[in-house]
Symmetry: D2
Subunit: 415 residues, 4 copies
């Protein structure tokens, strides 16, 4: 049985998970990705739609104890107040989400909407950032308690931020803690405030964007100290996914990749965000890092992201690869990828939630390197080769799952 066999397994909606309900707390809970997650989770939990696009619904995960889609409860933070139902209808009108799933999930969307709390907004927040963190963490804890959840996974799917200028507090947890408490200055970017709230609430955490989030060393240290499981960073959805699947092929055949140029066109909110050269800098860097790791530092890799509003949420990426083969022979390959970016991201958010819940239930602490499978920047691992990542994820899930199941059986026997 291989990971390729993606027929819906019983697992997808099973209730064989004895570890309680799991909260999925989304930072940016009213954005495109979150809306797709909300509509989709309802459709999957009610078996209205098959779990296509979900890695964890593959037969390879059949033996792995994972929360069923019906075990997942949505909540989150957002600074937008546009109801999920409105967002979902707009995305249906644009052609991104099929109308029938939106229509079917209206009640579910309203329920999820009721669990969304105001996000941290630096332009209106009055007190210290420490206070903001406390408030956000409190929201998460209240969500957990009110819904009787055994654990919460926080996933940041908000808009990409500019990279902040470096400062000493980013590298020293003590300095940072003091700075947050002592002043009303915005020491941390919003994504890091949200990450800190996740830590404080004792939730598992992953950042699906290239924003600072948990990437600041001081926050990372706090996360390790607090003992939450986490993974990162920046969801590997389209162009980078292809690159990390294809690049090893050239290497395995002894071809020398000389250049790998990329052009990305997209509209939607993400297109506008990424039109900001500062915001995009972090994205471009993480897109190229894996490529260099796979084909060598010498590769010439110009990369552009253009905001083309008329294209809406469909992202089109053209890549042009030039490799040298036998006796210097020219090999060119081009790839053109076209898809709704948010629809690529949404099932991965569900996968990450399920797998971090597994890790948490199994007592994992700190970074989970095998979840690098989902990210452009695979934390805790220097493996970018997608095939290798696939193998490592599968083996990890099966081992952890087997251990957890065995413990559950022992506990059952002991009783």
């Amino acid at each position: 049985m291989t990971i390729l066999d993606t027929a819906t397994s019983a697992n997808a909606t099973a209730t064989g998970w004895p570890h309680g309900r799991v909260g999925v707390w989304l930072v940016g809970a009213r954005g495109s990705v979150a809306t797709a997650v909300a509509v989709g989770l309802h459709a999957l939990a009610t078996e209205l739609a098959p779990p296509t696009g979900c890695t964890t619904a593959g037969l390879d995960f059949d033996d792995v104890p994972l929360p069923a889609f019906g075990d997942l409860v949505l909540g989150g933070h957002d600074i937008s107040t546009t109801p999920l139902v409105h967002r979902a209808q707009a995305l249906a009108d644009s052609g991104m989400i099929p109308q029938r799933y939106v229509t079917a999930s209206l009640a579910g969307l309203e329920q999820a909407d009721a669990e969304i709390r105001p996000g941290y907004d630096p332009s209106t927040h009055a007190g210290t950032q420490a206070e903001a963190v406390l408030r956000l963490a409190g929201d998460i804890v209240a969500f957990r308690d009110a819904n009787g959840l055994d654990r919460v996974v926080v996933i940041d799917v908000s808009s990409t931020e500019p990279i902040p200028d470096d400062r000493p507090e980013f590298h020293d947890a003590t300095l940072l803690t003091r700075a947050l408490a002592d002043s009303t200055e915005a020491v941390l970017p919003s994504s890091a405030v949200a990450a800190l709230a996740a830590i404080e609430s004792g939730s598992a955490y992953a950042c699906f964007t290239p924003s600072a989030g948990l990437a600041l060393p001081a926050l990372r240290a706090l996360a390790v100290h607090r003992g939450i499981p986490f993974a990162g960073q920046d969801g590997k959805t389209g162009e980078t996914l292809i690159r990390t699947a294809l690049a090893p092929m050239f290497g395995a055949r002894g071809m020398h990749v000389q250049s790998w140029a990329g052009a990305n066109l997209l509209g939607g909110g993400d297109g506008a965000t990424l039109a900001d050269p500062e915001a995009v800098r972090s994205k471009l860097a993480s897109k190229t890092r894996g490529l260099r790791s796979l084909v060598g530092e010498h590769v010439v890799a110009p990369l552009h992201i253009d905001n083309v509003p008329d294209l809406g949420d469909i992202k089109t990426a053209w890549d042009h690869i030039h490799a040298e083969g036998f006796l210097g022979s020219r090999i060119t390959m081009q790839t053109i990828w076209s898809a709704y970016d948010s629809m690529l991201a949404a099932p991965l958010v569900l996968d990450i939630a399920r797998l971090l819940a597994l890790a948490d239930a199994a007592g994992a602490r700190g970074v989970v390197p095998e979840l690098g499978f989902f990210f452009k920047d695979p934390w805790g691992s220097d493996v970018h080769d997608f095939g290798q990542q696939t193998t490592e994820l599968r083996e990890w899930a099966q081992q952890v799952g087997a251990r957890l199941s065995s413990e559950a059986r022992s506990a059952g026997t002991a009783r």
Copy 2:
């Protein structure tokens, strides 16, 4: 150290191989692929060119005892009498092989040409096919003896044949042997006559084309009985290579591939051969088989190969992939691959020769499944996933190599 690190290792031209010189006997020794092999082997053996495009020159094979390029001696059969030097110059004029390598290898090409014997030509052969096999096998043995070779690897790089109509002799070695001896009828297609000669001469064998070759069950039985190592079939050079690298990606991410259409344009001799619908039938079948194995039998996979003479030896392949993602969301991917097909094949021929020599030296008998890495039809394996094939090849080579090295050391100590 990974297989991706393809910097020329010392191995590429090393003389650490203690198992003598290796003959590389090409069926179709004056074709485009063979000519590229001949020019390239000279350039590699003299370190005029780095071994780009050769899998076995990667650092992962650094510890594997393999014949150096200088240990390989070329010979072969062909029904063409056009000297290799003329073919090489024509390919330089067309832009396929850089002129400087042709100029540098003139003496080497003449030497290789002197080792080419007339191929089996059913339109002129007068006696039984058994006599033809004997003559061809004799040529190979004479080549081995005259050049003091420890072993010979026979690789068929001749034009693709039509699939022959089935007959009882193809399935029964006794029947076949009798039929070949008793009549002057052409029972076997030419590729199978050549394969039988390889068996009779005790040489390792691989067929780089989709022709019948050793694929007939009776021949395969004879090869196993004779104890030669062999592998197959039909070199995975371009479009299929990409497909088997990409298809697992869709599966691992739970996407359902609905259709995978392909259009291939090429000129040159191969273009003309493949314009024959009969000849191409076998090619198309083997191209699609791996795809179906990877993404499911349901996939709609129209595939065309067109002869476009003005394109010469450059092959251009366009693939259009449609996959369903989250909530049925449409994902399309297109790939365009453009390269000199013979320049993709040539380094693989050298790789197969070196690895079959390794297998032979290590006493391997019958099919070597791990060499499926090189083929559209991986004999002895149902693995088509290129990443998995890469891992299996590397592990096999390192294990066999380690055993062989250890035996060599023991033998050295014993002496």
Copy 3:
């Protein structure tokens, strides 16, 4: 003011047309194209949508007296009984037609549906084909009378037929008339029966498909004799449109096009029809004819149409062009076109209807060569160059329009 300026002109919905209401009688009135025409005509007539995609809505046609969209009345023949409303909703569900236009046009669709009569079905028709023609012509005349229409334009948008085997009746109107009356044999293919009905009813006619239709010499003679204006044939919607826009560029720059290969992928009903090699033969021929005319008979032009059901109504076409430039230098160009084929056809159907109405009102008889602009096979013209066709259409429309307007003014004065 040029034809490029496609801002909606007043003309698009003007009532400046003093020649009465125009019937648009569609053969295949419940197919995808006809459904898009019906929904779109309603949206345009009510100014719910701008007339994007309509040539005749361009400012170049601002001075040309044309029936407003509100002057057009739909009717037609079809052997299907699925109501237009159902077809329209299915096409909205597939994403082809925006839901809001379908929702808005429900009443209009029902009204159009009420004007659809059973088409000629050779498998159920009992009498002679002459009787069938009479019945169909009667339907058209009844439609005209019942709706108080000044004229009717018949446009065939039904599925592509196989090319019928040639027979003497196709070349001799007398023979044909006798054969149709004397026997119950199906002498004519269905498209020709429909064309004959158009002739008999005295309606203008165009065939949007490559089916036989009016292309049979005997029918063409009857049409000329009867004095109807007509144009043809086979709508130039996508790949061929691009080809006839691009090919002149190569010629004007002295580049020699060596090959122009094409691959077409589509699903939907059209995909299934064109998967029939017989049906597709006529399509492939007309696609290549214009190309040869533009770049020379020597061009190597393999062309495939594949039925890929999962792609639905979206057609994707890949073209690969190889041209020789200065000193034989290689130039390659590739084009990839992706669009809903029926949505490309629908506005052209409206354009043809308006322009044939203009021709009819102006007393044109026989073929109107300038309408070749809309067709792969431009009847009455050997011009395939799309730029030249654009100029000729514009000049014709302006001349005919000016004459008609001047006559209208004279008539007004005379009164």
Copy 4:
């Protein structure tokens, strides 16, 4: 007979041109384009190669009296001292120019090389720019006299310059003349110094690059005053050529082009030049100007040029076009163009030289708008539509040619 018929006409090498030999003075005479011109001109004049890629070799120009290729004599300025023969061999080694044409033209290249004088180099020039202009103009006059030429056409094919900061002297010929004479400051960019030398020498002039050249108003005034014929600017070779051939198609069909994004990859010297954001600014502007003129100012048209050294002189351009069709239906088209950029430019340089010679012989003064056919920025015309430009060029050449021929006959009769 149409412009599409590019079979070599007798004209291509005819000696029917009674107006003497024509000098072609290239600014940047040792660059890639100039080298291709030199090798190609030799091959064409000696009928070693057909004039593929030359517009003026088409049958439409058969009746137009044009200097034969053998009537053209090469010379020029360059700051490089690398002999043409070396440049040509390097370009042959890179695969750009076929070796046989280089081999055949060695003597011709040496002869052309002997006519190359040192270009104006601001970093070494000591005196005023007026002195530089005088020296350069003197070189051109001396070339004309020494070779007994009836006229000289100066064409700038040197590297693209950054756009200079504006200054009052650019807009006032008197101010400019004074500034050039009075100071040793570099008032003008090099391309303008070269243009001024062309004016002073009374030569026809065209700038094949987007550099300032004759585009400065003061220079343009001087050119008009001096009465030289000229045309411009910035050769329309690849991506822009396609765009101006395709864009009118969308307009003629009433489709609304929403976005037209472009990515260009190239290496070679041009790639490095264009990697300079300042140099590229002028290029990007002129590439987009024509597009906006054709499809409307609203179009979203991000455009990138990346330097990818490993691609050498082959330029690859990807364009992605999104247009709205019927009822807002999405239409996407992509084009991929791949060619040696200098091999596209070289035949156009010969065409421009021949046609400016015709204009000059016919007494044309000032801008020749019909030569806008060759340029991204068509001076004296706002026509960008390539089809329309083709018609206008052909008609102009035939009219001017007919007049010139008629005058020649009158003169002959008068004699």
